[in-house]
Subunit: 131 residues, 2 copies
């Protein structure tokens, strides 16, 4: 679980300085009708949760890219957690020490509202073969 | 253009605390062979460039999601700029005040190496019709 902390307004002012991320009053008259986190803020919280609370993957968690969706914005007071589904794992044909996995990473609130869906292709590194 | 500044190591330690983003010595023996920025770091720099140097879009720049790829990682010393292509624009069928645009956002170095490709669907808001 991660709260929206670490100065979200300060973070938005650096990364995505738009009124609906920065100012509760100004946000009222926007599409969101109130303060909403930047999708990138949700994405970086998701990455932090993956790296700090997921399994310790040899070689690290390295994403090549994927499909990203923000069906609803993260709001003040949301407590976020992840549901990660391994959709596929395959070995590289050209390099037996490499492979890739496709992960479906759902970022959900405490009420199970979906804030972000990221289907990402990650690199995998095989264990060295013993002689 | 944006330099990799604003304490990239500090940023990585909050968002994506993996050795290849944090420690030049530790990074040498990883997949990247040296310090590499997190893809999310590249993504947030891209968003900042879009918001602070792009056209001022009525209602703000609001992305619903899209396809994200990191063909190569951003490296220390990179100077990043964007090339944005409007791929399509269409009006909403159900709500004439709304529409969407698909943008192809390329994040490039000073040597035109592609660090990130984001094909994103953004919301558009029509000008109010005069009576």
């Amino acid at each position: 679980m991660a709260l929206l902390r670490h100065d979200p307004i300060g973070r938005a002012s650096r990364n995505d300085p738009q009124p609906f991320h920065l100012d509760a009053d100004a946000a009222k008259n926007t599409f969101f009708g109130g303060l909403a986190a930047s999708g990138w803020h949700t994405a970086t919280i998701t990455m932090r949760l993956l790296v700090t609370s997921g399994p310790n993957i040899a070689g690290g968690l390295i994403g090549a890219g994927g499909e990203l969706a923000w069906p609803t914005p993260t709001r003040p007071g949301d407590r976020l957690h992840l549901r990660v589904t391994v959709e596929s794992v395959r070995a590289s044909r050209s390099d037996p020490s490499r492979g890739s996995a496709t992960l479906k990473v759902e970022t959900l609130t405490h009420e199970e509202d979906l804030r972000q869906l990221f289907t990402v292709r990650t690199l995998l590194f095989a264990r060295p073969q013993s002689a």
